[in-house]
Structures are given as structure tokens and as C-alpha cells.
Symmetry: C2
Subunit: 454 residues, 2 copies
């Protein structure tokens, strides 16, 4: 509580200093904070003020804060910031963070900064800029400590003492004379081992590594499975290219699950391009238009059935269309969500059929209960022939629920087999097809039921 009060006071202090354009004093107040906190305070200011504060901040603190900012806020800030200020900040950062920032900067600023950096840094960043953003090489850091396998533990400890880096080190990687990765050793083991022993004899030889083009989701699954602090990236000849640390992996997990979350609802990641509401709307529209066409087809269907049933009976049956469509949609999305998430976490792999069967069984139980409730309600809602309508509603709802559950579970599995992203494609497909199939089932039963009266 106390801490949050202090935080609020600091925030309002900074807001009042911003009003007086006293950026120097703000920088002084911020300097001792954690970069993540500086970034959080900066986020609330407008980008002109952000740029003015960064100009006054110590380059190390400013660089770290810049790399902690949300990419949305950062893009606006990068419009304001002058190239030489940007160079000053980027210079203090490890290559992976520098690359993230420069990839968002306007092209002319990016080129200017790359020109002004040291040839070594500039080459590293240019190399990283080439990679896919969501592959291992897009999130790896080329800076790491690797040592020849003939070094002793003592030599490595000496090297660690002299090492100039802000980046935390958890594992020292061991390479052979061709720079091929052959093992690793933790700092804890280095401290424990006898100084005179060659690292080759005490290192851990079971290295789990990834290739530069491994998808970041797969990298995250490995880090999670084996509880790693960092994972090395090696090229196809086994040469060490860089490492990915666990803090970057946490960001990947957050990013990937958030993406899945939104895709399934046909919405979009809320922090991606959302500054422009027009663009968000345009990106949501395809999904919605598919759903709209589906429901319009449902409406056209009803017109067709109204001819078959005749106006009187149509009026009796049609109010329950919304029940069939809504419940089918809900249950379809439930089993779809289960399978989509199971595929993403790797919990469902080979046993997709088993999972579909399971979902259908669950739907059977759920379907019986819902169909009974709906049938009883229909007795009271319906004006004419309540018993007949009640039976038709109950039976149709039960069938619609079973079909919805199977389709919801199968759709993501089929998408995956076809190489389409299951998260993006399943939601709309399931809701639309269930609307249409549900209505068709319901009116078919309705028409058949008329034989009992006539």
C-alpha cells in the first residue's frame, strides 16, 4: 500500500514537472528507478515529452527504458527522437534489443543510426534485422560467453571477472576448435569445481539447442519443458550463433497466448496497430463479414422453409431458431477452444480423434439437460401445438448440440492438417456452419412433425 502511494506521488510530481518543461529534474528523479518503472512512467506522457526526458537521462538508463516501452508507445516516440539521441541510447543496448527498436524506427533514422554505430555493432544488428521476427534468430542475442573446451575452470572464472557486459550470464557455453557447441556449464558449477580442471571434463554435454529458423513458440515450449535459463542457437553446422534468455521467452509466451486469445474471438491483439481504430476495424471485418454472410444464409434458409411450412406453422416454429443457433454456437466454441488450446500447449497431439470423441460425450450429457429445459420452456412459449413444438425443439437442439461439439473439435484439427492456423480459422468457421446446419436440422424436423397432425 505504502509503495503504491509513493508511486502515485512520484507520478503526479512528474506530471507537474512536465507542465513546467523541467525535463532535467525529471531525469534526475527517474535515474535511480528500475528501467521497467521508468518505462511505465514514460508511457503516460506524450511522445514529445518522452523524447525530451530521454535526452536528459543517462544513456544506460534511457536505453533500457526505451527497450522496456511497449512497441506501440515506442513507435510514436521514435518519430520524435533525433537520430543522434537514438544512437546514444541504442549504443548501450545488447544487439537483440537494439534490433527490436531499430526495426520500428523510420527508415532514414534507422540508416543514420546504423551508420553511426561501431562497425561491429552495426554488422550484428544488420544481420539480426534480416531475420523473421518470430523465429529463434529474431529473439536471440548474439552476445554470449563461449570458451574453448581446453580452458580450465580457473581460466573461465578469470574471463568472467574481466568481462564487460550488462547482460546477465547463467551458462557459459563451451565450443570446440571449429566454434561448434559441445557443452555448457552453469556459474554455480563453475564456482563449485576445482579451478585446475579443464571445462571439457566437467561440462554438461547434453545441450538442448535450437536452429536460427526454429519458431519462437517451439523455442518457448523447449525452455518451459526443460526449465532452462537460456537456450543456445546454433546453425546447421553446429556453430554457436547466439542465445535466447528466459525473460525473452516469457514475453514470447505472453505474446503467443494473447494472440491465440484474440484470434479465436476474431478480435485482434489490442496493442497491435490499435492506435488506428480504423485499421483495427478493417482487420476485424473479414471475420465478421464471413459470420454475417453465414447468418444471412440462415435468414434466406428460413424464407425457403417458410414456404414449405406455410405462414401459420412458420410463425409457431420460428421463434426457437435463435435458441438452436445460440446454443450450437456456444457449444461449438467450447469444444473448439478446448482443442485449439490443447494444440497450442502441445497437450493434444496424436490423440485428436480421442479428444473429438470426448467432446461429443460431454456434449451428449450437456445436450440432454439443455434439450429437456428447452422442450419444457417451449410448452409454455408456444401458442399452437405446444407438445409438437416442444418435441421438435428438444430433439433438434440435442442434434444441433452434438453436431456443434463434433464440428468445433474437428475444425481446428482439420485446419492444422491443412496447414491453416487453427486459431484464426476455427472460430468463424464453427459459428457460421453451425448457424446454417442448426437451422436446417430444426426446420427439417418441423416439416416432418407436421405429418403427425395432418
Amino acid at each position: 500500500m505504502n509503495q503504491s502511494r509513493r508511486w502515485k506521488m512520484l507520478k503526479s510530481k512528474i506530471e507537474s514537472l512536465v507542465k513546467n518543461h523541467d525535463y532535467k529534474l525529471i531525469a534526475e528523479k527517474l535515474t535511480l528507478l528500475h528501467p521497467a518503472d521508468i518505462a511505465e512512467l514514460l508511457e503516460d506522457l506524450d511522445s514529445k515529452d518522452q523524447a525530451a526526458i530521454l535526452r536528459e537521462l543517462d544513456a544506460n538508463a534511457g536505453g533500457d527504458a526505451l527497450s522496456e516501452l511497449d512497441s506501440e508507445d515506442r513507435e510514436e516516440l521514435l518519430e520524435e527522437i533525433e537520430p543522434d539521441q537514438l544512437t546514444r541510447l541504442v549504443r548501450t543496448l545488447p544487439a537483440d534489443d537494439a534490433t527490436d527498436i531499430l526495426s520500428e524506427a523510420p527508415d532514414d533514422k534507422k540508416d543514420k543510426v546504423l551508420n553511426d554505430l561501431s562497425p561491429k555493432d552495426s554488422a550484428e544488428i544488420k544481420e539480426l534485422l534480416k531475420y523473421e521476427e518470430d523465429s529463434a534468430s529474431g529473439i536471440m542475442d548474439p552476445e554470449l560467453l563461449s570458451v574453448p573446451e581446453i580452458w580450465t575452470v580457473g581460466q573461465i572464472l578469470e574471463a568472467l571477472k574481466k568481462l564487460e557486459t550488462d547482460e546477465p550470464i547463467y551458462y557459459v557455453y563451451v565450443v570446440d576448435y571449429m566454434n561448434r557447441l559441445v557443452g555448457f556449464i552453469t556459474l554455480q558449477d563453475l564456482i563449485k569445481e576445482d579451478d585446475s580442471r579443464p571445462v571439457g571434463s566437467v561440462m554438461n554435454k547434453h545441450v538442448i539447442s535450437v536452429q536460427p529458423d526454429t519458431d519462437q513458440e517451439e523455442v518457448a515450449q523447449l525452455v518451459q519443458k526443460y526449465d532452462l535459463m537460456a537456450i543456445p542457437v546454433i546453425d546447421k553446422n553446429g556453430k554457436l550463433k547466439g542465445r535466447i534468455t528466459v525473460d525473452d521467452i516469457i514475453d514470447v509466451i505472453e505474446q503467443e497466448t494473447t494472440e491465440d486469445f484474440f484470434r479465436l474471438a476474431g478480435a485482434l491483439r489490442w496493442d497491435e496497430d490499435t492506435r488506428s481504430m480504423f485499421r483495427t476495424a478493417m482487420q476485424r471485418l473479414p471475420w465478421l463479414i464471413v459470420a454475417l454472410i453465414g447468418s444471412l444464409a440462415g435468414a434466406a434458409f428460413q424464407r425457403f422453409y417458410s414456404g414449405k411450412l406455410g405462414a401459420d406453422y412458420f410463425t409457431v416454429f420460428v421463434p426457437f431458431v435463435v435458441v438452436i443457433a445460440a446454443m450450437g454456437g456456444n457449444i461449438g466454441i467450447q469444444s473448439c477452444t478446448t482443442v485449439v488450446r490443447g494444440l497450442a500447449t502441445g497437450d493434444i497431439n496424436e490423440n485428436i480423434i480421442e479428444e473429438v470423441v470426448k467432446q461429443v460425450w460431454i456434449a451428449t450429457i450437456v445436450g440432454i439437460v439443455c434439450a429437456l429445459i428447452a422442450a419444457i420452456a417451449a410448452l409454455f412459449i408456444s401458442k399452437f401445438n405446444p407438445l409438437l413444438v416442444s418435441c421438435v425443439v428438444g430433439i433438434s437442439l440435442f442434434c444441433a448440440i452434438l453436431i456443434a461439439a463434433s464440428m468445433g473439435a474437428l475444425a481446428p484439427a482439420i485446419c492444422k492438417k491443412l496447414g491453416i492456423d487453427p486459431t484464426a480459422a476455427s472460430g468463424p468457421f464453427v459459428t457460421v456452419s453451425i448457424d446454417i446446419i442448426g437451422i436446417a436440422i430444426y426446420f427439417t424436423f418441423a416439416i416432418l412433425s407436421l405429418n403427425f397432425i395432418k
Copy 2:
């Protein structure tokens, strides 16, 4: 590729050994694998075989594998395993993992194991068993290296050399004479610093810590924000109780996002209690019954309006109810998802109103496009008065979309204010109320429109 082929061969080898009940040979084959891999191989076997293999495995490997198993698989295995075998395995584990396992064991087995463990281990685990599973103390490990602030760097390095623990150490925590946490130092800094310096003068004094009752989601947010490898847990007097490592935090993030994912769809975590499909169905039912009652109310509503409109006009207007209900539901869930996720990641905090306004603007653009498409389609679908129906459908759809977007964005925010979990409550609330409101809007416009003809 090669690796996955070797994995498949190992799997089929083990399956054939299981058939011959040659558990000793299986144990030999498994011993050198990573515990996560052993767990993955065990998962496919039935619990009797799992127990037999664990009996043959080295206690360290077996204990680690047991703690890597999914809790679903583990519960079944714990039914099979004998108490003294369980003691043998649990003894090798850190207290937090041991607690997780024992909390799933049948009560008599748990008591027997706690009796057989050393008094110290037993006391630690009993203490941990008391805590809420999803609080900081439920996931913390009481084993850690803490040193007095008057120690020198050299003394700490000596202590590290002698330390007998399997648990990885990233930070050494520094405490005062009252065992109150005053700072920490990384292994990297320990190696770098001069051996003769007291740790009090070189340690980092800005410790980010949590209390035993801090919610695990909040712990995860801190670890993520500050890129920590471990976070200490201190009681309200500042005394050090334990630490939570980043690998446990990754599991928390995965677990919490998966939960959110499912709650929003009214489904359930697929690996929680899902062995019993009946229980899953029962847990999904409340959500579905709420949705069902909502859609039945919608059906009753239509009956009411059918009286007002007269059978002829009712037949003309009613097919489009499914369009209004479906599109309202889709757009409501989209803005609901955006806000629910934003609240969970902390991206939306104070500016909820700003977010609602944003969602309504997006819905305005989306609504205009969808309303136009629906109005044009209605011209073709409708039998009588196509122009009138087209106008009513277009205008109602636009209104329903705007209301759905606002309600979808407001519902989670209101739930949060009321102290109800937004993820669990928002989904059903939004879909149900939009069904009803959408139908009311549509038929109201339909009735009003008749004045133009009469």
C-alpha cells in the same frame, strides 16, 4: 528430424518392453534422459506400469520425473504407488515440488510419507501444505542460500562450494541479524567482486519481493516486468521465507492464461478434472443454462412481438432475428475479449472508459459496413416490402452492433469493480443480454416501420 526419429524408436522400444514387463531394462534406458523426457514417455503408459518403472528407477531421476508429470496423470499414478516408494522419491525433491505431489496423494499415503521423511523436511512440507495453492507461498521453495550481510564475497563463494543442493541458484540473498532480507547478489557479481569485500557493500539493495499471500498472477507480473530469475518471499516483518524461481513462474503464466482462455468460452481447462467427462459436463452446464434461458427469453419475446406485428408481417421480419443475434454476439465477444485480456495483462488499468470509447468507435465503422451488406441482402431475401425490411434490418443491426460493443467492453470492467472474476462472468452475460436487447431493438423498429405502410 533425426532426433524425432530416435525418439519414436525409443518410444516403441519401451512399449514392447512394457508388454514383457521388463521394467528393469526400461529404467536403465530412461535413467540418462532428462526428467521432462522421462515424464513424457511415462505419460503414455498406464499407471500400474508407471509405478513399476518408478520402482526400478534411481530415486533422483524418478523423483524429478514424478514432479514433471501432469497433475492429471500423477493423481492416477499416486493411487498405484506404495507409500515407501513414494517416500523414496519425494525425499529427493525440493520442498515445493514435494508439496505439490503430496497434495495430490490420497490422505493415508500422504500421512505415511510425512511420517517417514526427516522431521525438517516433513515440517517444511506441512507448512507449505497449509498455503493457498495459487498464492506466492503455494509456489515458493523454502530452500535458498541466504547469508549475513557481514560475510565477505570470499566466504559466500566458499559456502557455495560446499552447498549440497540440486536446486539451481541464481541470486544469493543477504539478511541482517534478524533474518530480514536486506539485499541480494547474483552469482555473476560474486565472481566479479574482490573476495575480501563484505557482501553488504557490493550487494544490490533494491530487492523486489512478495508476501506469502500475494496472488501468483501478481508474482508473475512482477517477475515478467523486472526480468527476474527468482523473487524472494518475505513475511510482514521482512523475514525471508523462501523464493520462487522463473521456471515456476512460466508454469503460472501458462496456467493462468489457459484458465482465462477457457473461462471466457465457458469451457474448462481441458486438463483439469477432464478424466471424468461427466464432471466436465456438469461444470460447463451452469454457463450453458444461463445462455439457454437467455435465448428462450428471446424466443418468448418473439412470441410477444408476433402478436403485435400480426402473423403476416412477423413472417416477413422474423428470419433476420438470427442475423441480429449472431452479429451482436460476435461483436460483443470481440470487445469483451479485448478488455478481459487487457485487464489480465495489466495493459488496461485506469483508462477503462477510454477503452470502451475506442471499442464503440471500432464498432461504428464495422457496424456501417455490416449494416449495409445486411440491408442489401435483405432486399433479395425478403418476400414482401423488401425496401422496408431492408431499412429495418440495416438500422437495427447497426444499433445492435453499437450496443453489443459497449456492453462487451463494459461488462468485464463492471465485473472487476464488483469483485467478480471478469473472465468467468463476462462471456455468458454479454451473449445473453445481447440476444435479448438485439431482438427487442429489431422488432421495435419493425413495429414502428409499419406506420409507414398503413
